[in-house]
Amino acid sequence: MAAHQSTEWRTVCEKFRLAQELSEIESRKDPENNPFRSKYKARDLLKEIHCSLVKIHIEEEEEGEDDNEADGGSMQIAEGEPGNECGKTCTGDSPAGLRAARLAVLQYYLGVNHIETEELSAGEQHLMNCMKLIDKCTTTRENVSLFIQARNQLGILWAGRDEIEKAQGFLEIAESMYLLYMKEDGQPPLDLQDYFVSEGEELSQQEKIRSRFEMAYTHTLYYLAQVYKNLEQYERAGQYCHSTLQRQLEYKQFVPLEWAINAATLSQYYITKTRYMEARHCLAAASVIATLAGEIPSEAAAKESDAECEKREELLQKRSEIARCWIKYCLNLMQDAKKLLEDNIGELDLDRQEELKRARQNEEEEKEKGRKSAILFGSSDTFDSICSLEEKISSMLPLDFEEARSIFLVGQSYVAQAKEYFAMDGHVTDHIEILQDHSALFKVLAFFEQDLERRCKMHKRRVDLLEPICKDLNAQYYLLICRQLQFELAESYYEMMDLKLAVADKQDQPDVHTIKKFNNLCSSSMKYYQMFLDSIRSPEGKFPEKLEDEVLRPALVAKFRVARLQSKLISNNLATQLENLNHSLESYSFIVQYCEENPEAKKAVETELELSNEMVSLLPLKINRIRSNMASCN
């Protein structure tokens, strides 16, 4: 076309290039007191181009009408063509369509410019102008990219105004336009940068164009993810985040570590939704993609240079973080299975187990196949490694000890990996969180174990993990962690005590050794509950008259358990028995009295309070019996 070679056109192209540069590069250096200096300059240029363009277009149209009817005719053809989209006045690839697209591109950039300089209404106006211009034309490779990007911008704009549904509308149209275009055409479209290129200048390379176009659509999906999140459609939001990740990988538009961490984080979303297959896929992909970030520099190399040191630190940290996501996967998988399998007192329900095993065979396989194809992270070079990593661990709820054990072992190996970076020295909180997870792994594994002695040993492992740390930790800085540990240790000992009791019950006679062991476990459990309760005291050692919300229930439950434990202690000495029962009564009375003085506490400990009330009225009976026994002995 003649106009393209004109000086005027060349000036337009030059101005456009300059505007781009001002807006994208120069603007970063703008001073604080004039933050939009370059943006305003760019805006002026864009306006100038717009004027020149309108002029050129008029000339072009006249020229066209003069020497050829064809150009103008295309409009008529479009109008008259049967089956054409209604309201379209020309095809996108006609000269008229191209002219409209060029003006639309300018409107687009003017719109973005106004939005960036916080003139939202003006920005909106320009974007709407842009849309009007392209909406006259059919969608072709000339304008599809613009179509999507303009709608992306409008989506962001309306979301910022709290009109999420409106934003959703724009973005969803962009989404369907992309899908339609890819189905019907699929050619790399014209890039926004390439509308203003004078003869002789190189157009962007096909590959780049494709990549930018795909990127625009990836953004559409990402914006939709946010819109759905804000609309509280979390399911869809998750799905769109997943697609965003999928596309980043597919078009190689990602930073490996960042992508890996995002995928690992997404797995945690799936875990909360109990969608373990998706969670596993995300984690496997995270682990594999993280390796693309390169080798971890050796310790020696790290000492040599700061950059290497930082890289080492970062890689180790992210790897350990992904490992921690894996731990949560293993833990939740087992815990969810436990929830399904346990009876009302937390024991394995064998009938339920049978039932679930039978049900699983029928359903799961079918379901997995269907779901799997929809969520795969496809990238030819990594796909195999992702799959082989997935095969190392099941994504189905374990239904017996063997299955639980294999998940436990994987979890445990990730515990070791996570601890590599999150060592106690330097990362106290993180390190302990990992140990707590390790302990939780043992705890849930114990549920699946039918042998009481072995189950007891698993709880012993929990104690062994946590007890040394609990002793070493400074409560001035880690009060809450200390409390958690104390509580967990108390519960572990309690569990062991219960198990020892169950074992001993099977023997016809309790031997002295067992009794001693049993009493020790009771005492240890009480000791840690007491430590927890003491942690609530003021520096002067006073127990608060009113417990804070976050310790209210734990404190009363601790008291309740202590009360129980005190009455469980075994002794053949009547005086000791009497003493223990009196202590127990005191603890039950404490709960009753506290709830009388603070009626709002009742709700937090309903069952415990009811039982405490009963015990307060009934225990004296037992105590009196012992008393009379003692009297008769003397």
Binding site: K29, E116, G160, D162, E163, H219, Y222, Y223, Q226, K229, Y234, A237, C241, Q248, E258, I261, A264, T265, Q268, Y269, I271, D306, I327, K328, L331, Q335, I345, M424, G426, V428, T429, N474, A475, Q476, Y477, L479, L480, R483, Q484, F487, E495, Q509, P510, E548, R553, F560, R561, R564, K568, N572, Q577, N613, E614, M615, V616, S617, L618, L619, L621, K622
Partner: protein
């Protein structure tokens, strides 16, 4: 143990004057101050007043040994620095100078010779996840945030300056502020995008004359100037701005935030079931230590009353509100009580039935109170629950039933104590039997094997099974002790035991120690150290076995 304050400039409910239709938004706080007018205004809050309300109490906590922290947050120009630092002029000093002065005044007043104080300060800046030492000009690059199990969270290599009076502190603060400005200029960024943390480490050392030991009480006073809340997003710097709910992040670099927000949506209540790697680590750490730990924290939100700042003000208040709600995220994760509850319910029922069966003529109401009733008489009842089933039962029948119930209850009620009592009575029987056989048993009936009398001559059994060895002890009396199968003092049974196996003669020497002599009847017996050993090859590889009703190991 936590306490947070929001002191907001006179706004309890804010109304958008430009859009009067919008519903007023409400926020709660402990104090609210107006300082945009002058002293003449009756509602004007002076620097002194603010310090008295917030600073004094904080200082008191520091003396008690708590960590204390004051956060300031808000738009630049809204009075954040004025509240925290103030101006040099009299009456214009902010919380920090007043608190420091007060601190040194109180330590100077101390007359106790055994009590000494020391004060150290550090000053750091957090910018883009990097921590920088503002007091040490030689410190380059980012410092690492670490945690020590005993010493708590700390910044590696952060310099700590010892100070002895307030002017030292003022100088250091000034130095630090200069360093901060210089750095900000170099980076072509405003300091309002970085957080600054000024820490005073206050140590109280008490010498105990009795034990000549020193005890230390260390408290940390952190004064945190959070990054300005204003326009931080246009350039991508984050600050602490909380965006309006519906906003869309443009850049894919924020994908992680969106995903973690999704993952976070569920794990709020109980203990975290998931792990979310994405976080503003340094700031999280800061918040964790001060909002989640063992410390007292005050939060000051500085607001501008101008309507043009409506959005910023709202955002500041929302942030403050959210900070107030940050509770310790470390929840106690307790085991379900189901089993314990069931157990206790059983016990309660047992005890209740016990009460009934004891013929106490009482019914227990659910609340545990006793109501008087007759249970075994036909006499008309007064104030009895109408459902009482026991009305028309004859006395004999009743007695019978009672007996039955008691038996059942007794079985039900067999707790460990009773089992133990049973064990005890069996033990006594066993002991009696053993005594009859000449085997001695320790007082408590405990494992005899461990117990080995030093001074009295005795025999012990040996067995191939080490567990069975030395389980039995046979004392040798003063004088003659006869060992054998029949008509003896120590009765042994076994294939190789003769009717009269051997005889021991024990004589008491002058040290009152028993010494035993022996008379060999059929076999050779060696002895050493008053413990007579039956050598393996004597009784034909077999050891003396005792004929007991119970296996030895259950002792």
């Amino acid at each position: 143990r936590q306490q947070r304050r929001t002191s907001a400039a006179s706004l309890q409910c804010i109304i958008n004057s430009k859009q009067p239709k919008e519903a007023p938004k409400n926020f709660t706080f402990d104090y609210s101050y107006w300082s945009h007018s002058s002293e003449e205004d009756p509602s004007f809050a002076s620097q002194r007043k603010v310090y008295q309300d917030i600073g004094e109490e904080m200082l008191l906590h520091a003396f008690e040994g708590y960590n204390v922290c004051i956060f300031a947050y808000g738009q630049t120009g809204a009075g954040k620095s004025y509240t925290m630092m103030g101006k040099q002029d009299p009456g214009q000093q902010g919380i920090i100078p007043q608190m420091c002065e007060d601190l040194f005044r109180q330590t100077a007043e101390n007359t106790d010779p055994d009590l000494s104080f020391s004060v150290e300060v550090s000053y750091m800046e957090i910018y883009c996840e990097r921590v920088r030492d503002l007091l040490n000009p030689k410190s380059r690059g980012a410092l690492r945030v670490r945690e020590h199990p005993i010493m708590g969270p700390y910044v590696e290599d952060l310099s700590k300056m010892a100070v002895t009076n307030y002017s030292d502190i003022a100088d250091l603060m000034d130095t630090g502020n200069k360093a901060r400005t210089v750095a900000a200029t170099n980076m072509n960024e405003t300091s309002s995008r970085s957080h600054a943390v000024f820490t005073i480490l206050f140590t109280q050392r008490r010498h105990d004359n009795m034990t000549s030991l020193d005890t230390e009480k260390v408290s940390k006073i952190s004064l945190v100037d959070l990054a300005g809340s204003e326009r931080a997003d246009s350039s991508g710097a984050k600050g602490m701005r909380l965006k309006e709910g519906a906003n869309i992040n443009k850049s894919l670099t924020t994908l992680g935030k969106v995903i973690s927000a999704l993952a976070d949506m569920h794990g709020s209540k109980k203990r975290r079931s998931d792990f979310i790697p994405y976080r503003d680590s340094v700031l999280t750490w800061l918040l964790r230590e001060n909002l989640g730990g063992n410390s007292r924290t005050a939060m000051i939100a500085a607001l501008s009353p101008a309507d043009i700042n409506y959005e910023e003000t709202l955002s500041t208040l929302r942030y403050a509100d959210r900070a107030k709600q940050i509770k310790c995220n470390a929840v106690i994760n307790e085991d379900p009580n189901a089993r314990l509850v069931r157990e206790l319910k059983e016990e309660v029922n047992r005890l209740k039935e016990l009460l009934l069966s004891q013929g106490l003529s009482n019914l227990i109401t659910a609340s545990g109170k006793y109501t008087h009733t007759h249970s075994t008489s036909d006499a008309p009842m007064e104030g009895v629950a109408p459902t009482s089933p026991t009305t028309h039962i004859s006395k004999e029948e009743a007695a019978e039933r009672l007996k039955e119930t008691e038996k059942i209850i007794a079985e039900l009620n067999e707790t460990w104590e009773e089992k133990l009592r049973k064990t005890e009575s069996i033990r006594q029987d066993r002991e009696a039997l053993l005594a009859e056989m000449g085997v001695s048993v320790k007082e408590d009936g405990g494992t005899v094997g461990v117990f080995s009398p030093k001074r009295t001559p005795h025999l012990v059994n040996l067995n191939e099974d080490p567990l069975m060895s030395e389980c039995l002890i046979y004392y040798i009396k003063d004088g003659v002790t006869r060992v054998g199968q029949e008509d003896v003092d120590i009765r042994l049974t076994g294939q190789f035991i003769k009717e009269l196996h051997c005889v021991f003669c024990s004589e008491v020497n002058e040290n009152n120690e028993g010494e035993s002599d022996h008379t060999k009847v059929t076999h050779c017996i060696t002895y050493r150290n008053a413990t007579v050993m039956l050598p393996e090859n004597t009784v034909g590889e077999h050891n003396p076995q005792c004929h007991l009703p119970l296996p030895a190991k259950t002792l």
